[in-house]
Amino acid sequence: MLKMTANILRTLFSKKPTRLYPIEVRTPFEIARGKLVNEIENCNFCSICALKCPSQCISVDKKAATWTCDPFACVYCGICVEACPFKCLHQEQAQRRPAYERQILLKKGLPH
């Protein structure tokens, strides 16, 4: 334990490493992969994202022009964002907030 004393003293007098989370919120990194968002106006319902998603959490109905995503099965890999040919999918920097109930993302666009 004696070997630790120098370290303990250094930690005692140095800056605190703790991020005081609920009080101070850190700005996320520029390329952080967070919440998935679909700008439904640009979406063509081509269902490439649904095919590419490793977790199969997206489903697209071309006829009804709906885009559905189960955000609780999303694994934040960003594959769909890279695959989207119309660039209507993107990921925000912040992650999804906790919830009391199950959620489902349903976006309805205009049928093409």
């Binding site: 999303c74 992650q95 906790p98 919830a99």
Partner: protein, 144 residues
Amino acid sequence: MFKHSLQKAQIKSPWLLHYDCGSCNGCDIEVLACLTPVYDIERIGIINVGNPMHADILLVTGTVNPRNKTVLLNLYDQMPQPKVIVAIGSCALSGGIFRQAYNVLGGIDKILPVDVYVPGCPAKPETIIDGVVMALERFSQKKW
């Protein structure tokens, strides 16, 4: 009166029990990261315990399979009333990427009533702290 102050105290300092129910370790190390200096949830009175009899909040990560289902139920039964369950990570919420694997029954809510869902794969420590705080609100509404 006495009961009321006891409840108030319990909300100020809830004790956690963490059980890894078949997760990939990603969420577990993030739960542990919450306890270590950089996030340090002990500063808001939350302590991680190893004994289910001491715990108020059960944090569960990972998918349920037939073998760990019994362990999870055992732990839940041993916890004293009132208790809340926080499911952490995509696997615990719905089975995540493993939903279709043969030895996966699905999310925690198929086995136990989940109070708070914390999404993420793995969930970030910030989100986990938010989830625990939300669980405390639920905790204060529960009957004694």
